[in-house]
């Protein structure tokens, strides 16, 4: 706890960005408690109202409150992105660690799959899949995870390969630890820091990708608000109601910026520690 506070004092950007992410995630969870009427009920008499004290962020093209849509949209956008990060990180880390531990055929099979996936631009594969499977929350998570696992697999494999030759792993092996135990107790903790950094950066990428798919109408279907689909709907009212674009745009950019900053600062915290350790041993 004390150490966490010291890091926070030295790295205010990390502190602020993590705090902001926590706030967005908390509001995403809380927004599920909103009465559905506030988010979905259409009132054409009140359409395209500008932001005002009584209607904080104004209303959209169907007279729905933009504040509640944005609020509820955070649970859709972040929920899909977080699910994609969870699926990708678990699948990728498992594939990478197992490949490094088993070597041989399994390793080269994982390597080939990685190469093949990297041959496609990630977003293109996600778009093609979403187009073929049809727009839905589940399909969006699948489309994002199908390319998302690759960096985790590469990181986990590289870290596990590096650690496998260490004395403590050799000792564990010699003292009769099972492969599963070595993987979970000895290799995974060593790979964890870089996997955590990757998942922060991936969260930023996944929010962008989900918004891109929803912007193109390939992601989360209407009437569920996602920040991307809100932006797409608002684009036709750029002239008469620019707040319909500016509000979801700001939500996307701020959240992605926070996740990117958090990832970058975490990376520097880790590599800074690694560098001093390297100096000490040399």
């Amino acid at each position: 706890m004390k150490r966490a506070l010291r890091v926070a004092a030295r790295r205010p950007a990390l502190f602020v960005s993590l705090g902001f992410l926590l706030f967005v995630f908390a509001s995403a969870v809380l927004s599920l408690l909103l009465p559905r009427d506030w988010v979905f009920s259409i009132d054409l008499a009140r359409r395209l109202l500008p932001p005002s004290p009584s209607e904080f962020l104004g209303t959209d093209e169907l007279g729905r409150s933009l504040l509640y849509r944005l609020f509820f949209g955070s649970s859709v956008s972040l929920g899909v992105a977080a699910a994609a990060v969870a699926v990708s990180s678990i699948a990728g880390s498992c594939a990478g660690l197992i490949a490094a531990e088993m070597r041989g055929i399994i390793d080269s099979a994982v390597e080939r799959t990685v190469q093949l996936t990297l041959a496609f631009p990630g977003l293109l594969l996600a778009m093609a899949l979403a187009a073929v499977l049809g727009p839905s929350v589940g399909n969006t998570v699948i489309a994002l995870s199908i390319t998302g696992w690759v960096p985790y697999a590469r990181l986990a494999r590289a870290e596990a390969m590096r650690l496998a030759s260490r004395d403590y792993v050799a000792f564990a092996r010699a003292s009769g630890c099972s492969r599963a135990r070595i993987l979970i107790k000895h290799l995974l903790p060593g790979a964890a820091p870089s996997l955590i950094v990757q998942s922060a950066l991936h969260l930023a990428g996944a929010i962008l990708a989900e918004s891109a798919l929803s912007f193109l109408g390939l992601g989360v279907p209407a009437p569920y608000p996602s920040w991307g689909s809100m932006l797409a709907a608002g684009r036709t009212h750029l002239l008469d109601a620019p707040h319909l674009v500016i509000v979801p745009a700001a939500a996307i950019v701020l959240t992605v910026l926070a996740a990117n900053t958090a990832g970058e600062e975490l990376l520097e915290t880790i590599s800074g520690r690694g560098r001093t350790a390297g100096k000490g041993s040399g």
């Binding site: 041959a119 631009p121 073929v132 996307i252 910026l257």
Partner: protein, 309 residues
Amino acid sequence: MKRVARRLVGIVLLLYAAASIVFLMLHLIPGDPAAVMLGDGASREDIEALRHQLGLDRPLSTQYVAWTGRLLKGDLGSSFATATPVTDEILRAFPATLELALIAFAFSLLIAIPTGVLAALRSGRLDDHALRWIALSGVSTPSYVSGPLLALVFAVSLEWFPVSGREGPGSAVLPALTLVISVSSLLSRMVRATVGEELGRPYVLAARARGENRWMAALRHAGRNALTPFLTVAGLQFGSLLTGAVLTETIFSWPGVGRLLIQSIQRRDYPMVQGCVLLIAAVYILVNSAADVLSAFFDPRPASREGTH
């Protein structure tokens, strides 16, 4: 020579694997692709006729062989929407995409290299921090955010450039600028990281000890060695410019392959979707392979290491 041949075989295999995945795409459609394509209210006869036309009534392996054969002849089938050959329409749209990608890439390099080197040289100072924040904000601003906002300011309010379309020299400015914002930020960060790493090496210190100034040392020595990792990332970025163009072209109604892809998805014109995905994937693979070959040319180290194995 052997290495070049092996790489060429690798590229061809990768292209073929990509084509196979694109072939399988059609068969991933839940239910009957013919029924999905025709939509609700299609008669049984129509669906059967389309199944026959697409060859979906034959076994998968026969379809695959036939598809490969037609692909080698450059035949990707005909569009459902317009009945024109897919290859013709894609080749008609491709120059527009290429134009946009090349303009955006050139300007991104022009911005990224000086700012990246500056940030690396001034590491830890105020200007480095400022550049890093600008670049990180640029990376966090997707084209579907920057595009509409640029259109709002420069096309709607100031009326400097057209809102959409591809007519006149001014029409490329806003879509290219949209792409430049994110790509130049990404590349600038990459330049800063690679040049910064090389600047800490002893040979740069030696060059400085001989009396070269910081900029010369950075460009002549560090820059040369940073070129290899930079080329790889630049290749990847050029490839993703093509995908990024899907969004940008849709936003600005730019008549390229990206907009064609989205239109075809909306019309359920699956042969056209397959063609667009295949073209983008093929260009992506070829550009990345070219970047690999180029970096091997500039830096023979990985090659000699491979030779000793």
